[in-house]
Symmetry: C2
Subunit: 324 residues, 2 copies
DNA sequence: CTTGACGATGAAATCGATTTCTGCGATGGT
DNA sequence: ACCATCGCAGAAATCGATTTCATCGTCAAG
């Protein structure tokens, strides 16, 4: 592959001039033409690695998410991409699989590859952002909190959503409302469970220790948790499920047992990736997934461009969609 | 961030020695210890950009896909990731949105960022791989063909799948079978349509020019195409839909009109990313999405490690799942 | 006619790691 | 006691682009 030196040789100028041609500096029309011709003829593409090394900076941002197979995150990713592309940035998507070790590895790459910034949906509660922050790389937390770091964040109100969803079930007349939540070390999981608990105690509903299950935010986890619930000696009459995929799993199980809502009431945090010929009697906490991504990317780009206001936390509204 | 020079200074050795410590060369135990201590104390992480520039090579592979919101591709991506991670490679996921210009941009980045290789599901029929190939970077085509390049490919048999799906509908007694396919310049779209046409003519079914619609492989495209079909003067009595997302769109429309299968017969190429509480009477051409990714990644890693056998095309079996 | 300013240009330093080349000291074989 | 070999370590070149610094004209103001 031709380098700037070979182009320079062919055009009969110095490498510095070639660089200036491609970076809009003062170069005479004649030389500029010669350089462009030579570059064209040789199929020259500037080497990004060298450029990045020199500039200590690249036009790539990392989007680190815990589950690439969850439509919530892919939708969020689309939002990030659209904004970043429009601003001339490329997005690389890093899937951590809810694994903090993988996450650490990707954050390390983002740092040592001089990426312009990071949008992070943390895999757990002790992400190490020190190195990135020391280096001055902007980071925006999305969906899940920054865990002790004072950085920008874009979130939905998990606690309020959990409470509202539970209350909606109570309003429909259910009394024994269980909760299927995610991993204990994931903030959104604990907050949604807290919202559920607040509603249960606040409304004086029946409470049972066994009504709160910490699963794993995956389809299968939702399925197993739901099975565990329906097989209790005193099963709940409704359930609040703390994410979309577990909602699918729970519905699968209930379908098998002929107990689909409204036989057992159900409310789900997030939008179900589901098609049902007959409308499902499920209350949804609908999330602005794409908009979360757009907002996070906007914030990150502002920081990259030098904005140094104190960190902001933006909470986007979620919307209760009553069951059909 | 500390560099190798600062670590060297602190440990009282030369930068070369620091490098050797981290790359497993001959260094005396004493110096090695001093270097490691210094590195630890300073929180040293080697700069990947500098390393990549020097080595002309990085341990990152690019996975370029047309639609990150399509579960088929995310599932494929999981397959790629699992294999790559295990081999110590990181995967960056690039979403082209079925846009050849975006694709070209990502391929350019892969090249000029010295990535180790590329797995590509092409956005159209004239991807330009010349530069990557000249540079000797391995490329594996996945799902969609290499379009004139003699490179490794991992595919499913779109034509056979289209034919089998159409035949399954005929076996169920449908006679006027339409086809909703994807963009004309996407190979899998045309092949699946060809398979449909082969079955229609081969089985002597009714044929109508208006029964073949080229849509866009998206939910909305499937919806609109289905509407167009049911509003024909002589509507089809069944439809073969050439991908999963359009299948969802078509089902949406049929649900609205109260014409869900089996009222109108339906077969879909790919697995529907939905859950239906009541079983859907849809015939599926089930695809080994994750396995496609695993196979492609295996192939790519072999090439990266120097395998120079002639290019292979691996065709994975797809499986007809009869309607419930 | 002189001086100052400015535009265009090339030489060389720089970014941070790896690697070749070179030299030094120690070991071992005869 | 001598020479070949080997292990270890540092100096310096290298990867390819950007940018500072210095130089040389040219042009305008005084």
């Amino acid at each position: 592959m031709p380098t700037i030196y070979e182009v320079a040789a062919r055009a009969g100028v110095s490498p510095a001039t070639v660089s200036r041609v491609f970076n809009g500096q003062n170069v005479s029309a004649e030389r500029s033409r010669r350089v462009r011709e030579a570059a064209e003829a040789m199929g020259f593409t500037p080497n990004r690695v060298a450029r990045t090394l020199r500039l200590q900076n690249s036009e790539v941002i990392a989007l680190v998410i815990p589950d690439i197979e969850n439509p919530f995150f892919t939708s969020l990713a689309r939002g990030v991409e659209d904004v970043a592309q429009a601003a001339g940035y490329s997005v690389v998507l890093c899937n951590t699989d809810e694994d903090q070790a993988k996450e650490a590895r990707y954050l390390d790459i983002a740092l040592s590859a001089n990426m312009a910034g990071v949008i992070l949906a943390a895999a757990g509660d002790h992400s190490d952002l020190d190195a990135l922050i020391r280096r001055g790389r902007p980071i925006v937390a999305v969906d899940r909190g920054p865990h002790g770091y004072d950085i920008d964040a874009v979130m939905v109100d998990s606690r309020a959503g959990g409470r509202a969803a539970t209350k909606a079930l109570a309003d429909q007349g259910y009394r024994r409302i269980a909760c299927v939540s995610g991993p204990r070390d994931v903030e959104t999981a604990t907050l949604r469970a807290e919202g559920w608990r607040a509603a249960v105690t606040g409304l004086g509903l029946d409470y049972d220790d066994q009504y709160l299950i910490y699963a794993d935010f995956r389809v299968d986890g939702g399925n197993k948790a739901m099975r565990q619930l329906v097989e209790l000696p005193e099963p709940p009459d409704a359930v609040f499920v703390a994410n979309n995929l577990m909602g699918v799993g729970a519905l699968q199980l209930l379908a098998e047992r002929g107990m689909l809502p409204p036989v057992i009431g159900m409310a789900v945090f997030g939008d179900l990736p589901i098609f049902s010929p007959t409308p499902l009697a499920v209350t949804l906490v609908s999330l602005p997934a794409r908009h979360l991504g757009v907002t996070a990317a906007d914030l990150l780009l502002k920081r990259i461009n030098g904005d140094d206001q104190p960190p902001r936390t933006i909470v986007l509204r979620n919307q209760i969609v009553p069951s059909a």
